[in-house]
């Protein structure tokens, strides 16, 4: 009999069920993995980006129960039964979310690496405060590094999306 030892990342001995972008999702993975690793490697959701791995850049932000958190510092085993939203879940019915529209229209993304995390972080802000001031937007996004835009276009895009969303809800 030949014994084959699987590489550790293939030993998917942990299992969770979470609500990912509104859909009940079951996933098995190696138990040491962070949510970021499980999203990208085991679920194929590569929209969430892998940056510094240490909580120093914000590129891996997702929403956990509606709150912006860093998926690189969250054990996937602790997400059992939780609701997670990534950039893949922002648009609906084949249409972009107003934030995504505004980011594209106003040049708020250049290289785009920080964009998925900024989009979900901005969504969490607008969900809890539909009419934030520039200062509140700046504060909410102060954990997301962007080395391209200088942030101005990002703040303007969040404000444009805020107006668009307010227009929709008042109709």
């Amino acid at each position: 009999m030949i014994l084959v030892t699987l590489p550790i990342e293939s030993q998917k001995t942990a299992h969770i069920r979470l609500t990912l972008n509104g859909e009940a999702t079951d996933v098995s993975f190696a138990p040491y993995k962070t949510l970021l690793e499980v999203l990208r490697e085991d679920l194929g959701h590569t929209g969430t980006k892998h940056g510094c791995e240490l909580g120093e850049c914000g590129a891996c932000a997702v929403l956990l129960e509606g709150k912006a958190v860093l998926s690189c510092l969250l054990l996937a085993v602790e997400c059992d039964g939780k609701s997670v939203l990534t950039v893949e879940g922002l648009g609906a019915d084949g249409k972009l979310h107003p934030l995504q529209d505004a980011f594209a229209d106003l040049g708020a993304a250049q290289c785009g690496y920080c964009t998925p995390a900024i989009l979900v972080t901005a969504k969490a802000l607008l969900d809890s405060n539909p009419n934030p001031s520039r200062e509140q937007i700046r504060e909410a996004l102060s954990g997301n590094l962007c080395r391209c835009t200088g942030y101005q276009q990002i703040f303007e895009a969040v404000e444009a999306a805020m107006i668009k969303i307010a227009g929709k809800t008042s109709c």
Binding site: L54, G55, A61, A68, V69, L70, L73, L75, V77
Partner: protein, 342 residues
């Protein structure tokens, strides 16, 4: 790519269950709260617990009970919750400010009060990945024999980098430590050692379960933090000040605590004592600032020049005390944030 090392994972539902696990597993088990300090350290192999015990599922640790006479804050209350809760004002302002200035909004949504109190000490020679540390033959704090900050030192010089501990010490907080066989309350100011390696008196089999505060009626408090950017960075110097005044503005009691100026938060006893029985005027504030700065001993193992950090200690004490007497020092606060932000 930095992967986490392998670990066994436990998720107790009660404090009783948790302390039983810690007792059984011994010092190789570590409690995991928000994970924002421990998991990066594990990725860099600075801390390699055999067992991670999640505190996330213990409801008792998430409770906040605030009454007129006393408050009890569960260790797993997040920093974001503290920063946003309007009950943390007046006497408790320093705590809310300190919590709101930790790292970034994302990290504050995850990081907990207990975790910030137990935060590992930090150093330019320690907070590096495994290969970097190996290249310098490691250091006294982990895997090596030499303190590269002070090569003659027998003691590790890593810096206490918690924001909430200086604030809570200034507020006279105590912490409740629970183990399988006993429970004890410790004055937070006495929880720390001035040793970067053995920096905390929490035993490996204890859980820091609660922060306890007596009534702060009549007290005012504030927290000042120095860092390069207006976000992300750990403090490289901080000052928490709290005072209780008579109606005529004479100081009845005061506490001044400096963070990131040693391996533990430093209580500036003489500086606080000199204020008692006097109003906060130019003379008393200047005396307190000199006395506080005298004991601050920043070393060359964080961001910014150490002699400048020592000078800022006096400036922060001055600003903090002026703020407590009612001056508008928002301009000074902003100038420290702006001057050093990118």
């Amino acid at each position: 790519m930095m992967r986490l090392p392998l670990f066994e994972f436990r998720m107790p539902r009660t404090i009783d269950e948790a302390v039983l696990i810690l007792d059984g597993e011994g010092p190789k088990a570590m409690p995991l709260a928000g994970g924002t300090d421990l998991l990066p350290n594990m990725k860099r192999r600075q801390q390699v617990p055999k067992t991670l015990m999640s505190l996330r599922y213990i409801e008792d640790l998430n409770r906040v009970r605030m009454e007129a006479s006393a408050s009890r804050l569960g260790a797993c209350v997040t920093l974001a919750d503290i920063a946003a809760d309007p009950r943390f004002r007046n006497g408790l302002t320093a705590l809310a400010q300190a919590a709101s200035l930790v790292a970034t909004p994302h990290i504050r949504n995850m990081a907990t009060l207990g975790g910030n109190l137990c935060l590992d000490t930090r150093c330019n020679y320690y907070d590096q990945n495994y290969e970097w540390r190996k290249a310098i033959d490691f250091c006294l704090k982990k895997d090596g024999d030499t303190c590269w900050v002070a090569p003659g030192s027998l003691k590790c010089m890593a810096v206490s980098s918690t924001d909430t501990a200086p604030a809570l010490i200034a507020l006279g907080a105590r912490v409740r430590l629970v183990s399988r066989l006993e429970e004890r309350e410790v004055l937070l100011g006495e929880l720390y050692n001035n040793d970067g390696l053995d920096y905390i008196k929490r035993k490996p089999n204890e859980i820091l379960a609660e922060v306890l505060l007596d009534s702060l009626h009549g007290w005012k408090s504030t927290y000042w933090k120095l860092r390069r950017r207006g976000s992300f960075d750990f403090p490289v110097l901080s000052v928490a000040a709290a005072a209780r005044f008579t109606e005529s503005g004479v100081v009845e009691d005061a506490r001044i605590v400096m963070g990131s100026a040693a391996s533990r938060p430093l209580v500036a006893l003489d500086a606080a004592k000199t204020l008692v029985g006097r109003p906060l005027n130019g003379e008393s504030i200047a005396e307190a600032a000199v006395l506080a700065a005298r004991i601050a001993k920043p070393l060359d193992n964080t961001d910014f020049d150490m002699s400048w950090r020592k000078r800022v200690t006096g400036e922060f004490v001055t600003c903090a005390l002026r703020e407590l007497r009612g001056d508008d020092v928002s301009g000074e606060r902003l100038s420290y944030m702006r001057t050093h932000s990118h």
